[in-house]
């Protein structure tokens, strides 16, 4: 009995260690990208203290927060759904007495929490010590920020779920993952604040859900969005979440009929 327990603990430790290496990689990469962008932005802000309504201090915090969110948004959830479809595991999930989409959503939140504790917080601590992070004076802002962040993750999940289901048709997910990554990179404002976008691109970005995944929470945190606009932004995020829920359900019912499991 005892030796069995030890074995089980060992196996779990291995899983945690394997995860720790990935988390360490994510930690290092996120930090590295923050530093690259920090130096570029500092070169841009060399002669000005405010550009396009964003101050030098704000841009530093902007880079840190949005880079962390970007890493989490591109964490590789699509291959997870894809693997289920490719290996036929989805059949087992469909038999479970729990809704498949809800099941995946809960898993996504789990990923988010592990990411927050193993990658996001260490990165934040290092950045706060080296580059400095702005902290909002009003504690209410924190609450708004976390609500907005939660909605951001939910919106991101629906989009990932939808793109992931496309692997019913393509049977392979690598391309789909990079597709999602490039859309997020371009339109979420994760790499450049939307206020820097040229007008035509801003118009496109405003029509898409991607800016709700990163720009909105960060802008609330930094006070780029203030006053009644905060509530408006959150309601707008909520509407996106509901709309995407319906769209992804619709697509799900449609795609599931098409299911061709490879040898599963």
């Amino acid at each position: 009995m005892f030796s069995k327990s030890i074995e089980i603990i060992k196996i779990n430790m291995k899983a945690v260690l394997a995860y720790a290496t990935t988390a360490w990689g994510a930690f290092f990469m996120t930090l590295l990208q923050i530093f690259v962008f920090y130096y570029i932005w500092m070169a841009i802000y060399k002669d000005d203290s405010i550009i396009n309504g964003i101050s030098k201090e704000q841009i530093v915090t902007y880079i840190i927060l949005s880079r962390i969110i970007y890493t989490q948004l591109t964490w590789g959830f699509i291959p997870k759904i894809g693997r289920k479809i490719q290996k036929g595991e989805i059949i087992m999930d469909l038999l479970k007495p729990i809704d498949f989409q809800f099941f995946m959503y809960v898993g996504r939140i789990g990923d988010f929490i592990t990411f927050a504790s193993m990658t996001a917080i260490p990165v934040l601590i290092v950045c706060a010590c080296t580059l400095g992070i702005q902290i909002p004076q009003n504690p209410l802002i924190f609450i708004y920020f976390f609500i907005s962040l939660f909605l951001a993750m939910t919106i991101s999940f629906f989009v990932e779920f939808w793109i992931g289901l496309l692997s019913f048709y393509t049977n392979y997910t690598w391309g789909l993952q990079s597709f999602q990554e490039s859309l997020v990179a371009l339109f979420s404002g994760a790499l450049i604040p939307l206020t820097f976008f040229p007008h035509w691109l801003l118009t496109i970005a405003n029509l898409l859900p991607f800016k709700e995944m990163s720009y909105s929470p960060v802008a609330i945190y930094l006070g780029i969005i203030t006053g009644p606009q905060i509530i408006e932004t959150i309601i707008f995020q909520l509407l996106w979440a509901v709309a995407l829920l319906f769209l992804s359900r619709l697509f799900y019912t449609f795609a599931i009929k098409k299911i061709t499991v490879q040898g599963g």
Partner: protein, 263 residues
């Protein structure tokens, strides 16, 4: 000997493209997304130049030139050497590396030839466009000698990237998570996408003498645009050769100490 390996490589390539055709849609999406993502990097630089006119004496097209050089080198490396990433978590862990060991061909060759990464083509294409556009906008006219040098410098840049990847890949013989080490080191290439003058001194020294990615973009660009560092830039091919000697040595040591997982 070389001829044998050449024809073998072609055979491996054919096999690979057969598999690829099975996943046509995904391939198209993949190449398209890679292009879109890289376009984003250029877009970033462009947004910067909406606000300022030069960074540390470098203008927009000079910076895109640096960007294009590295992008091309990355594409070249990615096309031929991408399978190094899979050494730890796929070949060693699943035991399929043992198959390479019993065949009378170099295991390294087999590892590389088994999989070429077609997305590298997209990067090379984009690199070519960006390099050409930058040079014409800058009114730089390269002589035949300069063209020859440009090709040598780009190939050397790619060789530097792949040699460093080969060194970090040998960790795959020890840990199945070697790709994390590889990705972390090659992520440093991000620094080399821009003129390294924007970084503090220790990063510049690091990118020149420790993990010399600056030789895949910044120094060659300096030479071809006559912006300085002439002697240092010409070291590029020698650094590439030196790193490859080190990398092959590291690979040999890793292979010697490799023991199969037995699965």
């Amino acid at each position: 000997m070389l001829k044998k390996y050449f024809f073998l490589y072609i055979d491996f390539l054919k096999q690979h493209f057969k598999t690829m055709l099975e996943y046509k849609t995904d391939f198209v999406i993949g190449v398209f997304s890679t292009l879109l993502y890289q376009f984003y990097g250029i877009f970033f630089v462009w947004v910067i130049f909406e606000n300022i006119h030069q960074i540390h004496g470098w203008t927009f097209y000079q910076i895109t030139f640096v960007y294009g050089l590295l992008t091309f080198a990355q594409g070249l490396d990615m096309f031929f050497f991408d399978n190094l990433y899979a050494l730890g978590f796929e070949y060693v862990r699943e035991g399929s590396f043992d198959i390479f060991m019993i065949r009378p061909i170099s295991p390294l060759f087999q590892l590389l030839a088994t999989h070429v990464q077609q997305d590298g083509i997209g990067l090379m294409l984009l690199g070519t466009i960006v390099i050409t556009k930058s040079l014409s906008e800058l009114n730089v006219h390269l002589s035949i000698m300069d063209h020859f040098l440009l090709v040598i410098l780009i190939i050397s840049g790619a060789a530097i990237i792949s040699a460093i990847n080969l060194i970090t890949a040998t960790f795959g013989f020890k840990t199945v998570n070697s790709h994390v080490i590889m990705t972390s080191v090659s992520a440093l290439q991000e620094f080399a996408l821009y003129p390294i003058l924007i970084y503090p001194k220790f990063i510049r020294v690091f990118l020149t003498w420790v993990i010399p990615y600056a030789f895949a973009s910044f120094y060659p660009a300096n030479y071809l645009l006559h912006k300085g560092y002439e002697h240092l830039s010409l070291l590029t091919p020698f650094i590439a050769v030196f790193l490859w000697i080190v990398a092959l040595k590291a690979w040999k040591i890793g292979l010697k100490n490799y023991s199969s997982t037995g699965s």
